[in-house]
């Protein structure tokens, strides 16, 4: 492929309950593989992939987060400056769907770009016994101004498409990514005490 200037670097988050397949989605997208023995993420993980959408070459820095309750004191620190978020639930788990509101709340609190693009992904559609219908997913997405897609990391359904849609939407949102990168832009909600939670010091 010809050398093309990278238009921008985008920060993408993947969040959702534990075990819904966040890391698998990411692995499918970045390496096009599926590992049934994907270990549970600890803290946050990080992958990079360049993606060309509409002739715009973008570099994606994708932050994969642990879904466990306890890690939520740690992971939101990495929400800062993200331009896009992929919110994942498991179509076979009503509970993972029910927790979406809490995740959105958290996002609202900790993200710094209020016009960030949000995408809802219902994962594991390859499995039988769905507990969440596509319609429910659609309704939720509509209510919260999100993109929506059902996908399966295992059978590679909708994964690529989800990321591409998200990036395209970000690129189309003016002011969201132009100043991306260097600046430490922080939440305009200055007032709330504890708005910026800390995280474990690990080094």
């Amino acid at each position: 492929m010809e050398e093309q200037e990278i238009l921008t670097t985008l920060k993408i988050l993947i969040i959702g309950e534990s075990g819904v397949g966040k890391s698998s989605l990411l692995l499918r997208f970045t390496e096009d593989t599926f590992d049934p023995e994907q270990a549970a993420t600890i803290g946050v993980d990080f992958k990079v992939k360049t993606l060309t959408v509409d002739g715009n070459k973008t570099k994606l820095a994708i932050w994969d987060t642990a879904g466990q309750e306890r890690f939520r004191t740690l992971t939101p620190s990495y929400y800062r400056g993200a331009q896009g978020v992929i919110l994942v639930y498991d179509v076979c788990s009503k509970q993972s769907f029910n927790k979406l509101d809490a995740w959105l709340n958290e996002l609202e609190t900790f993200s710094t770009k209020h016009d960030m693009v949000k995408m809802l992904v219902g994962n594991k559609i390859d499995r039988p016994n769905h507990e969440v219908t596509k319609d429910e997913g659609l309704k939720f997405a509509r209510k919260h101004h999100m993109l929506f897609i059902e996908a399966s990391a295992k059978t590679n359904d909708g994964v690529q498409c989800a990321f591409e849609e998200l990036v395209e939407k970000i690129i189309q949102t003016p002011g969201l990514w132009e100043t991306s990168g260097k600046n430490l832009t922080l939440g305009s909600k200055g007032g709330e005490p504890g708005a910026g939670q800390g995280c474990y010091c690990v080094v």
Binding site: G19, A40, D45, F46, L74, S77, G190, Y200
Partner: protein, 1119 residues
């Protein structure tokens, strides 16, 4: 008068060619030899080329301009450079835009009216010269003002030094352009600049079918007195027209006199110079240091220009000569007012802030700045030793480790910096005040004490509470404004809240905020850079003192650093976290080393307890007495956490905690009793454990009836709360959620750094592995706490608490195990391990050697408080202190700029609201948006801040203008019964005056605004003529009036004006500073039988500049 008469002669040489038809011209140019083309021809060719380029060939006449369109419409300009030999010119086309947009219909109908024949339309220039709608436009190009043209060309020398000073050159240019324009059939006037640029002296020409126009001008410092009035000018005009005929139609005259009001007799500029001296002498209130000066030093409005216009009079109706004048400004039908603003009114706030920002250019470090005035450390050794000795007696053992890099200045944290006598940049007494302002909890002035500790410390503590309330009231008072305008107040508070949200600064009245203001003040009033360095050094000392002596920093809110505030504020918050942590750690002295002890708090809010609160007092009182303290403390905390679980839970001390209970009896109790009792039980057992220091012994009596199926490896420790209906898989014991370590607070730069480190590990599998390992510290810590709290537990138990979806209960098909905190599991009402449904770990947790298993295996049973601290408060505090100490004054200034800007904008909003500046929101909102953008930028950019300050200054000037103008127009001296009920009209007038250039005074002299202006002029006149007698001397004016008025009846209805007049021995108005006349007539030129054509002459008579600008049209057909 300089004359251009010679033009006629030259023109005649040229005009035959022009007037000849196209065929003739073709003959002439048929045998042109281009090799010998002269410069002159080249020049003409170039002009023609440009005209073609601009598509002005065969230019259609434009519509006459609408009323006031010259001032309100937009003007456009196109420019090309042309060369005549080596003389460079700018050839420009200026035109009024948008005139073409007049609807075609109306254009057509109009055109029919004026068209003289089908192929001969009236040229634009004719309309323009006679257009009465745009006399004296408010703002327009001077040529437009003088000649009333809506389009014209100018030919001006490029260089300042080269100019056309000989008449022959002027004529040459004039004829060249005439030829070019005639060739292009372009009937737009062209002007050629003569003499120096500043003289604005032009000569011009225009060729229209059947006529040619000469634009002539004379420019003198002063005209001879016989021409300095209307009568004289009429003579000039008529003689120029060559009209000796009796039948000459009357000349139409438009006149405008402008009067300047310079002395504001009634309202001197009200700005009081700020009184900075109050800080250094007299009693001090906190208010002095956060005082921001505001307003302009000089009156931002210097002059008021009143223009009285008499549009379109007939020459017979008006008389003005050297002895007598009909032109009384009070009778003028139209009044316009314009303000002349002071160029640079020296705004206090702007200067103040700019001064502060200037420090950014200094590169010295704080130490370097202070070195000059610091005493040699040896010099004053004796007294220093004494103070040190005293400190050593009274202070707790200082600093675990003071950073060597901070140097000896800081090492004695609580001692003052020693300056040479009388050379301290900030005198002691002032420094005390500043420090008291910054740290209101330190009641004892530092200067009194080499031995400050016990008393000052207690004072600090006592005032901790009062501080919060005090800061509240002061912040409220800061916002109080005129009570009359409640809505206004609300609006302001809205803006201020918005400001706090938008800007990345620090809360109003926080320490950071105060520090920024104090430094600003110090910089401006006490020693500039030196003073700033001094105060900053003191500030660092205080920070270190507080860290070492465990005093929380007041004025910095608790909790983890707020990323919405500026970095410096976050750093101070961080330091406060460290101090808080240190207090807990050291006051909870179990006998373990400070590092092994870590008190945790699950609910940060519950910990927001001042040292003076009863609970803390209890804590402190018990601190001295051995073990009991920590037990109670522990217990209280336990209760605190438990309150969450049991709704009613009062904070009572459970004395029967040692009662023997078994699980069944616990189970049997009501829910709330269950949780509180069992937790107290567990903690009591903790206590006992500790006392006996056992690791592997049998259960003590308090836990006696619990049946443990598996062998215990240790006593349970660090339990927080039982997890409802969840039991250990192996033992069947209640599963307890352990007390865990709190996440470390982080500032945004730390976060950034950490994210960078994680990202740098790359995307490889190994990278992920290392990343996970790096972040597993908290996982391991939690596992250790869990193991300590739940003896005999296995990984499955941990996973059920930590990641419930990874424990698959048998019989359920998916990961969804509802057996979590919600307690909805089917086993809810069943007891004991026997009936507990078994499950297994999810597939991913079973991967051999995965991180979770690995961590579980490596985790020992250690309660959180004995674990290695995840948050090293000592290290972090030293990092912050080092960060502060290594800042140069320039950096300090930049770091504080967001707070300074915040305070400045808040001040501006208040002042502007007080002055009821019109469109306050429109002014402030963009300013806030801009400030938000700049303050969020990191690293700080000095240039952006100085731009921001410039914007603030502009708004300040505007506010000062409003204040000034309003005070002028609402001064008490001016009120009179007639003004009643007209306040709104005056208000509107003032608003318009502020926002627009020139404003029409409604009702002229009779209107409410007009009356006020009149009074101002009278007052100014009296003051200037030193008339003390206030008695009105009406007779003179009344006697002279009736006949004047009878003459003017036809044009005005200002009967009332005579009442307002209070003329006395001097006139109400000063001599007009500028007098402008436009004379127009329709006269046949050059011969009596020629066509009747428009003629116009403009004249301006002002101090030091008098100018005649005439446009005379002559018929080229019938001469």
């Amino acid at each position: 008068m300089s004359s251009m008469e010679g033009g006629d002669r030259d023109k005649k040489l040229v005009s035959p060619k022009i007037s000849s038809n196209v065929d003739d011209e073709a003959d002439v140019f048929e045998i042109t030899d281009f090799t010998t083309a002269s410069d002159w021809e080249c020049f003409i060719a170039r002009l023609e080329e440009i005209l073609h380029e601009w598509k002005l060939v065969n230019h259609e006449p434009r519509e006459p301009a609408l009323k006031d369109q010259y001032a309100s419409g937009t003007w456009a300009e196109r420019t090309e450079e042309v060369v005549f030999v080596d003389f460079r010119f700018h050839f420009s086309y200026l035109y009024l835009k948008g005139n073409d947009e007049v609807t075609p219909k109306s254009t057509n109908s109009k055109r029919e009216d004026v068209e003289e024949s089908d192929d001969h339309k009236t040229p634009t220039v004719f309309f323009d010269l006679m257009n009465l709608e745009n006399d004296f436009p408010m703002r327009a190009h001077y040529l437009c003002r003088w000649y009333g043209l809506q389009e014209f060309f100018t030919l001006m020398p490029v260089s300042e030094k080269q100019y056309i000073d000989s008449e022959s050159r002027a004529k040459l240019l004039l004829s060249s352009s005439s030829i070019a324009f005639a060739n292009c059939n372009c009937s737009i006037p062209v002007f050629i600049q003569l003499h120096q640029k500043w003289r604005k002296l032009f000569t011009g020409t225009c060729l229209v079918p059947g006529a040619s126009i000469e634009f002539e001008m004379s420019h003198l410092r002063k005209f001879p007195p016989q021409f300095c009035h209307l009568a004289g000018l009429l003579d000039v005009f008529k003689s120029k027209l060559g009209c000796v005929y009796i039948s000459m139609p009357p000349v139409s005259v438009s006149v405008r006199f402008t009067y300047i009001l310079k002395d504001w007799f009634h309202s001197a500029w009200p700005q009081m110079p700020p009184d900075f001296s109050s800080i250094s002498d007299g009693e001090v209130g906190y208010g002095d240091l956060d005082f921001l000066p505001f307003g302009a030093c000089t009156d931002p409005i210097s002059e008021l220009h009143l223009s009285c216009t008499w549009p379109c009079l007939s020459e017979d109706m008006i008389v003005e000569n050297s002895l007598y004048s009909d032109l009384d400004p009070l009778q003028a039908p139209q009044w316009n007012v314009k303000l002349q603003m002071t160029d640079d009114p020296q705004c206090l706030l702007g200067e103040f802030l700019k001064d502060f920002l200037k420090l950014c250019d200094r590169i010295e470090s704080t130490d370097e700045v202070l070195k000059k005035v610091l005493v040699d450390t040896d010099g004053d050794k004796h007294s220093a030793e004494i103070t040190h000795a005293l400190q050593k007696l009274t202070e707790p053992v200082p600093a675990l480790s003071s950073l060597p890099s901070l140097g000896n200045v800081v090492s004695s944290a609580s001692s003052r910096i020693k300056f040479k006598p009388n050379e301290a940049p900030i005198p002691d007494i002032l420094m005390d005040r500043i420090l008291l302002y910054l740290f209101p909890d330190a009641k004892i002035p530092r200067s009194q004490s080499g031995l400050k500790s016990p008393s000052s410390k207690s004072a600090r503590k006592e005032s901790n509470v009062s501080l919060t309330s005090g800061s509240l009231t002061s912040s409220v008072s800061e916002h109080t404004i005129d009570e009359d305008k409640k809505a206004e107040t609300e609006k302001i508070s809205d803006i201020l809240t918005d400001l706090s949200k938008q800007l990345k600064s620090a809360p109003v009245d926080s320490l950071t905020h105060r520090l920024s203001l104090a430094l600003c003040n110090v910089n401006h009033n006490f020693g500039g850079l030196l003073g700033v360095a001094h105060l900053w050094q003191e500030f660092i000392l205080e920070m270190r003192f507080r860290w070492e002596n465990k005093h929380l920093i007041c004025g910095i809110e608790k909790g983890t650093p707020n990323m919405g505030s500026c970095l410096l504020h976050q750093k101070l918050q961080m330091l406060n976290c460290c101090i808080e942590c240190k207090i807990k750690r050291e006051s909870a002295g179990y006998g373990y080393g400070p590092d092994s002890q870590n008190i945790h708090n699950q609910l940060p809010e519950s910990d927001v307890v001042d040292a003076s609160s009863p609970k803390a007092m209890k804590r402190l009182s018990k601190a001295a007495s051995s073990l009991g303290y920590s037990d109670d403390d522990e217990e209280e905390e336990e209760f605190f956490e438990c309150d969450d679980d049991d709704e009613a839970g009062p904070e009572t001390k459970v004395d029967d905690a040692t009662n023997v209970k078994d699980d069944d009896s616990v189970e049997g109790r009501a829910e709330n009793a269950f949780s509180s009792d069992s937790s107290s039980l567990s903690c009591k057992s903790d206590v006992n454990d500790k006392r006996k220091e056992l690791k592997n012994t049998s259960r003590n009596s308090s836990m006696s009836s619990s049946i443990f199926h598996d062998s215990l490896s240790h006593r349970p420790e660090g339990r927080m709360v039982p997890m409802k209906n969840v039991y250990l898989l192996n033992s069947g014991e209640q599963l307890y959620i352990p007390i865990t370590q709190e996440p470390s607070p982080m500032t945004e730069d730390m976060l950034e750094e950490q994210a960078e480190v994680l990202a740098k590990l790359g995307t490889s599998a190994e990278g992920s592995q290392i990343r996970a390992r790096m972040q597993s510290a908290c996982l391991v810590s939690d596992m250790e706490s869990f193991k300590a709290a739940n003896p005999g537990c296995i990984l499955e138990d941990f996973v059920r608490w930590y990641s419930p979806r990874d424990y698959v209960v048998e019989g359920e098909t998916n990961l969804d195990n509802e057996n979590d905190l919600d307690g909805e599991s089917p086993e809810a009402d069943q007891k004991g391990p026997n009936v507990f449904k078994r499950g297994h770990l999810s597939q991913r947790m079973q991967i051999p050697g995965n991180m979770w298993v690995e961590a579980w295996q490596s985790a020992r049973a250690v309660p959180a408080r004995r674990q290695k601290r995840l948050f090293d408060d000592t290290k972090e505090a030293e990092k912050v202190l080092h960060y502060l100490a290594s800042m140069k004054p320039a950096e300090v200034v930049l770091h504080l700029m967001p707070c300074v800007v915040h305070a400045a904008v808040a001040k501006l909003v208040e002042e502007a609201a007080q002055a009821s500046v019109p469109n306050l929101k429109n002014i402030v909102e963009p300013l806030i948006a801009r400030a938000a953008k700049v303050t969020r930028n990191f690293p700080f950019d000095k240039k952006k801040y100085s731009e921001l300050l410039r914007l603030i200054e502009i708004a300040e000037v505007f506010t000062a203008r409003t204040v000034s103008l309003r005070s002028k127009f609402t001064s008490d001296h001016l009120t009179s019964p007639e003004q009643e009920g007209k306040e709104t009209e005056i208000e509107n007038f003032v608003t318009a005056l502020l926002n627009l250039g020139e404003v029409l005074v409604k009702g002229g002299a009779c209107g409410p605004a007009g009356a006020i202006i009149h009074k101002m002029f009278i007052a100014s006149q009296r003051a200037n003529n030193m008339i003390l007698d206030d008695e009105d001397n009406e007779e003179d004016s009344v006697s002279g009036k009736p006949n004047q008025e009878s003459k003017k009846n036809s044009m005005q209805t200002l009967q009332a004006s005579s009442e307002i007049r209070s003329s006395s021995s001097c006139s109400d108005f000063p001599a007009a500073s500028t007098r402008e006349y436009i004379l127009r007539a329709m006269v046949p030129r050059p011969a009596p039988y020629s066509k009747v054509l428009p003629q116009r002459m403009y004249c301006i008579l002002a101090d030091g500049e008098s100018r005649l600008a005439g446009a005379f049209i002559s018929d080229t057909t019938f001469q």
